[in-house]
């Protein structure tokens, strides 16, 4: 068994990278995060912001739904500081939606998601802006979160355990020792333009939709397809709760209240390159129509913003270890004989802590480090404290 704490580099400071930094740092690792932009400047910042209850997936993907409700309960406890918890409604707008209701009701119960069927009258009293033509409504424990602050809270907690964050450092390659093992990364400090090397016992590629590109630097393939979706934000918060359309996952099926806004999303299509994804006007129009179906007054409310981000969707028949069906962790040693590198990708914001836990378990097992996960037990550090002792490592 190892006795000196191992060191780890994490590439990417989205939800996955930040949650993993906290988990590994809490288990005693010397952690260094290397991120090419600001925290959460990839997909995480531009997420819709729904802390899923799991109900959205209870019919199509029970495993994902169960993971969501478990993590929903944990995050509401440990990340209260950046979550508005008001619950969510699933509402039926037509007969097809109504036809989905029995499967939905069965599904949520099978997945252990607390659900309440509520009368149309009560739903409209609680949410007067809702389309008055709704046919039925179910209440579930959905919530909305602030994306940057959620990432910062994990990062602040990681920092309290000694993790170092190097934002604006672009990873451009991997370092190898005499035996070909990956022993760190080379990066460019984008503030100064200067190159710098970081060394560690293990490197985790947590670059989400970019995981394939970064893995290429090591000559390995990770079959992620960047799969973007659009979101449209409105000037007015029209509901207290999250409003979901009672149907199988579809375009524009979730209307999320956040601060003084309402945000509708989303769509799904594949792209080759995730660095810049234009906001397509036809998708914005589609979102606008869908939003007005749920809450008619949105028809006439000014749009405040429209944005796009890319899911890291896993494709192909790779042998990647399926730690869960919803995300994957590739140990490139078992897959391609490349030691010292692990890739984690896929998943959701809601499940980032669980992804981190399972990835950290794998990393510990690889390095013979016996410490268990404790991230579900304590509230995260105040997100402001991300800036405490903000010393760069290079």
């Amino acid at each position: 068994m190892k006795t000196t704490p191992p060191s780890a580099i994490i590439i990417g400071a989205g939800f996955t990278g930040c949650a993993l930094a906290y988990d590994l740092a809490q288990r005693g690792f010397a952690v260094m995060v290397v991120e090419r932009g600001e925290l959460a400047s990839g997909t995480s910042g531009r997420t819709h912001g729904l802390l899923h209850s799991g109900a959205r997936y209870c019919v199509t993907d029970a495993e994902a739904a169960i993971e969501c409700i478990q993590e929903n309960i944990i995050l509401r406890r440990i990340a209260k500081q950046c979550i508005e918890y008001n619950g969510g409604y699933f509402v039926a707008l037509d007969d097809a939606d109504l036809g989905y209701a029995p499967a939905f009701f069965q599904g949520v119960q099978n997945c252990g998601i607390p659900v309440d069927e509520i009368s149309v009258k009560r739903a409209l009293e609680a949410e007067p802006a809702l389309n008055p033509k709704i046919l039925t409504a179910f209440q579930v424990p959905d919530a909305a979160f602030d994306p940057l602050r959620l990432a910062m809270a994990f990062a602040a907690s990681a920092r309290q355990h000694g993790a170092k964050f190097n934002t604006f450092f672009d990873v451009v390659g991997f370092l190898r020792d005499g035996q070909g093992k990956i022993c760190g990364v080379s990066a460019i400090n984008r503030h100064s333009g200067k190159p710098v090397d970081f060394h560690a016992d293990i490197t985790v590629n947590a670059t989400g939709a970019w995981a394939g590109k970064v893995a290429e630097f090591a000559g390995v393939t990770v079959p992620v397809r960047p799969t973007p979706g659009v979101m449209v934000a409105y000037e007015k918060r029209v509901t207290t709760r999250v409003i979901n359309r009672l149907c199988e996952p579809d375009d524009g099926d979730i209307l999320l209240p956040q601060r003084r806004m309402a945000v509708i999303g989303t769509t799904s299509f594949e792209v080759e390159e995730a660095d810049y994804i234009p906001v397509y006007p036809d998708q914005v129009k589609q979102m606008h129509q869908r939003a007005a179906l749920l809450v008619p007054e949105l028809e006439n409310i000014k749009m405040r913003g429209a944005y796009m981000s890319a899911r890291p969707l896993i494709g192909g028949m790779m042998s990647g270890r399926s730690l869960s069906r919803t995300f994957k962790c590739y140990d490139h040693q078992t897959d391609e004989g490349i030691n010292g590198l692990v890739t984690v990708t896929g998943g959701k914001a809601t499940t980032c802590r669980a992804m981190a836990e399972k990835t950290a378990d794998l990393v510990c097992q690889k390095l013979g480090w016996q410490r268990v996960c404790e991230t579900a037990q304590y509230p995260l550090a105040d997100y402001h404290l991300y800036y405490q002792a903000n010393e760069a490592a290079a």
Partner: protein, 253 residues
């Protein structure tokens, strides 16, 4: 957003860490209804990968993308190109003032966030407390189980601090957002500690009532009104302490 494209010139203040700033111009084809941040991101993606800037949510909930656009503080993710220039026009982009520049458009928010933290600023509040007091005549109620809550208005973007003439000349001044945070926390949970923080030598009395903060705030916080309202509270507290002097140990450190 189906417009004839515009041709615009975007002039950005560039600065490598520790070096002198200069201005670089980029010619760009844009949709007038897209946002300034989209144009900046495109410059990074297709024209110059060395450009550094902060951003995360792209819809005004995170506060990371504050910049000065044509000399005015803007949250660039919700600022349309149309609102700041015309076809054939120029957009000048600079980093926020009154924060240390790390490189290009990236400023260091560290001290500011730690000052916010000192005021016990809480990002989530009961819905009726999150609103501006003058927006809803209803009295503040204590939150009961199941009462709606939401993320409060201040997104800690720092625009108000950049725009504030007092913060510009007075490095000690904590700035509008921090005082607004103290006010917000005080309305929820009054304490002598918060009064003392506002009344501190770096606090309330350094404000010159220029109202620039409220002018630029993208999130409806109205820091200027909150500062004035907090002054009233502090003033009443001082009068009270003259009539009935506070015991020294009751004063919060």
């Amino acid at each position: 957003m189906t417009n004839q494209p515009w041709q615009v010139q975007i002039k950005i203040q560039r600065q490598r860490a520790g070096e002198k700033p200069y201005v670089q111009a980029f010619a760009l084809e844009v949709d007038p209804d897209e946002y300034v941040l989209d144009a900046v991101e495109r410059i990074w993606a297709f024209h110059d990968r060395t450009l550094t800037y902060r951003h995360a949510c792209h819809h005004s909930t995170c506060g990371a993308c504050g910049m000065r656009v044509n000399g005015r503080e803007k949250l660039t993710c919700i600022t349309t190109i149309r609102s700041v220039t015309q076809n054939g026009g120029t957009i000048r982009i600079d980093p926020l003032r009154n924060f240390p520049v790390v490189s290009d458009l990236v400023v260091d928010m560290g001290d500011f966030f730690l000052r916010m933290n000192k005021s016990d600023f809480n990002s989530v509040a009961p819905d009726n407390a999150a609103r501006l007091p003058y927006e809803h005549p209803k009295k503040l109620e204590t939150q009961t189980e199941g009462e709606p809550e939401r993320l409060v208005d201040c997104i800690e973007c720092g625009l108000c601090i950049s725009a504030c003439p007092a913060a510009n000349t007075d490095k000690e001044y904590v700035g509008p957002a921090v005082l607004a945070a103290i006010h917000l926390m005080y309305t929820q949970n009054p304490s002598q500690k918060l009064i003392n923080q506002a009344d501190d030598h770096s606090g309330l009395w350094r404000c010159h009532s220029a109202y620039e903060c409220t002018e630029v705030c993208p999130s409806g916080v109205d820091p200027a009104w909150r500062i004035m309202d907090m002054r009233k509270t502090v003033f009443k507290d001082r009068v009270k302490s003259i009539i009935k002097p506070r015991l020294p140990e009751k004063k919060d450190a």
